[in-house]
Symmetry: D2
Subunit: 408 residues, 4 copies
């Protein structure tokens, strides 16, 4: 019998670990590794409190799932003991496949595979180690289970993932505009015809939730400073890979070297998986620290830029940048910093950011009216504003060295 069965979460207070199996999963090194992966990448550059890890988020989402299960059961929804544990495990492990710096490096370290698929690989490996006890959790996670609302609790526009991360990220960043009342929304969930719905009285809480999520995107997740920091990090790995390709050997941890010095497809065979499972934020930051004085000017200057927080200038606007604008920047950088072909992209780059606050077509949110009717959220007479929010918002950005400040 294990003894340690409680977490003290600054947001929800005491969180109980509901079963031995879940306790053992949390104790597993794969899961403990999440303690060393920051939930929000480099956002602490903008919001200094945002150091929280994927570990806490996973535990928090599990806690909300437990609450939701209790509420649904109290409303008469039948959920078996096996389904309950599977739901808790599925949400606990939904992000276990995240590599260092989460989304930022998602397609840099290991290309051609999404973190959800890597999560699945982790889950299947754990399933082996735990003698098949995770099979139902995996089925629900993959969306293969016949009871649809269980799948929706793991992944939909109102899933436990979102209900936790918005609240949590708002808490640690101090962006109170993003604070949602997760427990309140949960208390108004119900199930009709195997689908998750929200009771009528919860309509404004859901509206608030969607607006809060939108605000978090623009104020936090797509904040221009962390955006440019993210881009630099990606460029650093790119540069390192290219140096390795040219025969250089950069000091770094062995598992990190494994991927930097590897140019073939990743199918996550056992050696690849083993290496991947050993990498976290510390490998990356430590590499940056070791490369800060590297002979390669590009690598060294990018690493210094992150470590000392001397970031490039970034400009965001609604329209695409014109050829002339970009030309002007490029010329100046070529004149002052580098004129080597292929190198300018390390110093200047453009990109697009996009957010759709509410997706009408994919897992839309249904409202259950008192008369039993079910309508999409946007169909309520006075929610034209939500309909407006189904249109994706797109913005364009360019960044370039700060020393060339007055370019645009």
């Amino acid at each position: 019998m294990n003894k340690f069965k409680i977490f003290n979460d600054p947001i929800y207070g005491f969180i109980n670990i509901p079963s031995e199996l879940i306790f053992d999963i949390i104790e597993h090194p794969y899961f403990q590794r999440l303690r060393r992966i920051c939930q929000m990448g480099l956002s602490s550059f903008v919001y200094p409190g945002a150091h929280h890890s994927r570990f806490e988020h996973a535990i928090g989402a599990m806690h909300l799932m437990q609450k939701t299960i209790n509420i649904l059961k109290n409303k008469g929804v039948l959920i078996s003991k096996e389904e309950e544990e599977a739901l808790l495990i599925a949400i606990l492990l939904h992000d276990i496949g995240h590599g260092p710096f989460s989304h930022t490096l998602e397609h840099s370290l290991v290309t051609g595979i999404k973190h959800e698929d890597i999560s699945l690989i982790f889950m299947e490996e754990l399933n082996n180690q735990f003698n098949g006890k995770l099979s139902l959790a995996i089925k629900i996670f993959k969306g293969d289970y016949h009871r649809n609302f269980l799948v929706q609790l793991i992944s939909s526009q109102l899933d436990m993932d979102r209900l936790d991360y918005l609240k949590r990220d708002s808490f640690y960043t101090g962006v109170t505009e993003g604070n949602i009342n997760s427990e309140r929304i949960i208390s108004m969930l119900a199930v009709v015809d195997d689908n998750l719905v929200v009771e009528e009285k919860g309509i404004y809480s859901v509206e608030k939730f969607i607006v809060a999520r939108r605000l978090m995107y623009w104020m936090v997740y797509l904040h221009k400073t962390s955006l440019v920091a993210d881009y630099l990090l990606v460029k650093i790995l790119k540069r390192a890979k290219s140096l390795f390709l040219n025969g250089a050997d950069l000091p770094c941890s062995n598992p990190l070297r494994f991927f930097l010095d590897y140019n073939h497809d990743i199918n996550f065979n056992s050696i690849q998986f083993s290496n991947f499972s050993q990498i976290d934020d510390y490998d990356i930051i430590m590499a940056l620290k070791q490369w800060k004085n590297n002979d390669d000017f590009i690598l060294a200057s990018l690493c210094t830029s992150i470590l000392d927080r001397k970031l490039p200038k970034i400009i965001i606007q609604d329209n695409e940048f014109s050829k002339e604008q970009l030309q002007k920047i490029t010329e100046k950088v070529e004149l002052n910093i580098t004129d080597k072909k292929g190198e300018i992209e390390y110093f200047v780059d453009t990109g697009v950011i996009k957010n759709q606050a509410y997706d009408l077509h994919h897992n839309s949110i249904s409202i259950l009216y008192k008369n039993g009717e079910i309508k999409d959220l946007t169909k309520a007479s006075d929610h034209m504003n939500l309909l407006a929010l189904t249109k994706p918002v797109v913005k364009h950005f360019v960044y370039y060295p700060k020393s060339l400040y007055s370019l645009l």
Copy 2:
């Protein structure tokens, strides 16, 4: 020299009283009377914590004004000592004219005059007593002052009144969806060409503010239970007046009797003002308690309905109720409760509720961009949702005795 100079507000913490004059105004019986007028009328029927008074709101709005003045001054806006004290007094007294149960009885006890105009009468009376020291405050309150942004701080879509009451009402009701970050919005205010504007970085905070206000309207201020309670209260006064008109004498306080037994125009001569200034929530509730067992069946049953919280059934819908629907209700009530002409309206009534989250045409909110440009909030490229919110939302309701529950 007065000694008591600090309030302990559960929302903002310590609030200092900034001057002797303001201290003396707060000490005045006219202002102390606000302690006995509930900020949210009968909303505590729905949200049991909502017992806070107009007194606290006025002090809170003054506190926000003080913060705003400091911030604007730090940004280089010139505000003289006299203007500063006048602003503080004007916001402190902006609601001094509210009678018992604030908006609910605004046009019942005293007809033909708005609470803002009664506030003005109070302010002028105080100005007499304080030897003209409130003249500038009155000028700003009336909108007659040449510096427009000072007027906007007292009355506009982002005035200190709204910034306090939304936060305060959210706090006491527990409707966290309405919680706004007033201090954050304030920190992003600026003045351009004598107009109040919000700096670009504050755009999402303002969006959140508008959505929060909209949610507070539908979830709290227009909640159907407090709506029907409000209507009953109005009907009670109406019935009492009609009984007085017919020669009855109902037990109640003298100042209340003065208005119930009075059928002429109110021009707030000194005797009228004196009586009005003595009435607060206690006169009303105490009257209800004394009328609860009155011989008049209508009066007695309405009073019992409020005191024991046995409220009528209320139905809200997007469209107007049809003649047939209303006919059906009326017949049933006539059959079961009363068939006297003119009495049915005490038991059955219809009405319209309306809210416009953002008013584009009146005191709209301007955003100051980094390049110096100023645009209306709704003109920002990705705020179509706010544009949608400029359209007023209208709903219709009917209420009738609960014992006839299954009518609609």
Copy 3:
């Protein structure tokens, strides 16, 4: 089937009403009356947010009881369905016997009986109306039930009453020093040998609770301003009774007149009970408003003093006031205000306040150590500070008219 089954509490969020019977008790006019009795009497004179009523406190204490029951059951303590409902009802009604202004007027309006005993009378009356369904609740409330820990949940140094009122009063006053983490303490309760104990890991939370309670007493409950206001209120009723005794008739509500004009023992016969059950804060404040201009100088000036918040000077000190000090004050008051025998006590009075933070001898708090041992809280090696807190602290005060300010 009743419909309204949820409260929105600003402190705990949603509170469910757990049964039909409890719903019906809450709906009863006796319980609705608690909406009109302020939890903290005149404390809003010092802490303007403290307008909350006994109604909310009772609901909140019931909510904590529900949480406690669930936690104890999860720890294997057997609590039957009947005991559960009885506990909830007992805590819901533990303060139903409070009259207007709670403790302040507890021995003024009706002498010779404590509010707990009046609560019992209310509970028995309700038990009649609800066909004996409250019998078990009454048994527990009276301390007659054989399972001791159920009694302790209703009344002890860690009962649900204290766990709610400290948190609630801290919330509404804004005195954050008194904020306790009630849910945390509850989560560490256990039952051993039929006694409520606190698990070892909760020892610091309990220490914090005791210190918080102590601070609330000195900063809030015994704050000198509300102390003097309380005394004035008592004196007002005393004066009114004495005027009635001398044949005067003061305007006030009939139930209030019943007690003011009554000079016999109260045994709570049905007519006495009926009158008592109709009185709340509104009767008192309205009486003050009607007596404010009374011909009796003493009555009028005391009422004005409360209504306009023009309170006497109060001085608190550790030692008793000397005869000389009191003599000096008395002479001055006789010279300036009144020289009639027996009248001076309306303007000048002395008293004693006392608080014992932790009572070692009565229902002390037991700590359950991991090895199964149970010790009193103060026996833990490093809690000498709590032992120090078992000594009652006593202070002395005198108050007199402010116009004689410089007397002491």
Copy 4:
């Protein structure tokens, strides 16, 4: 002119950077390095939210200092512009000398020097770079300035350091018992005869502060799980040093190797300082990751123990452990794990923890009474409990491998 001038702190909200010089200090790599040093070492093993860094604490303490300065100035205390900036810089840099894992490794990496002295070395180096602009800050930090209260604001029992870290650590750990109202305490500070005092009305807030600090020590800072983790970390460095001494070369960053492979006195010459300034938490954790599979069994097992959070068993008790108890443990470990001389101390160790909640003799807290009298906090008549808290509490612990669970 620098542009970035505001921080968004989850605790205090917006924090302004008050001057260009301070902005430039914050931008300096020495200060940015604090982003990579966790405020609470390995406490996140117990309290998963406790990932906050020394960077945020330093900024937060500066913010409180700014508030304090404003309050004292409003009370008429003269503080010059130069003193103001010096105070802000001194508090900002008071912990700049902390190495990785703060207190945990304070005497492991670099022996014979306290972090305060290293802070001074950093400050003097910065003073060189900023042309002597930090001289006054250094004078105050060293306690050499003639105005004593300025020194007390930097270091005393009520300094800005404590007022920030208690609040901050309580926030991130979720241990609400430790939450203090820093802004409230600050508002009651005053200066008499060049000494910092607390106004009489603040006495309970200070009492709460001392109790909260005491609770934080026992519940958080000296929590047995982080205690044992701290010990392991120290042992790891010790083992690494001993391996280096024996000629091994362990993979790690160059600056870390510099100290591990160095056996002479540290006088912080420029090369030593340069290396020290490059080390942070990442060097340590990355080393552990690289040593996890090292051939040295002791090193590998200690590193795994931390990284996978498989910690030894730790027992805490009031009395010293007896020779017999320790003998029993030692024998068992020798039997099962190692019998090499000198190696057992890596697996088994004992120690003492101690906390004194209030120090009567060193920088005690003075209360300013309304009559002008100044007394020590413990002299107030009803604060015997604080006097009790001046006695240091001492506890003893032993830890040993968990697999030998049932030893004691």
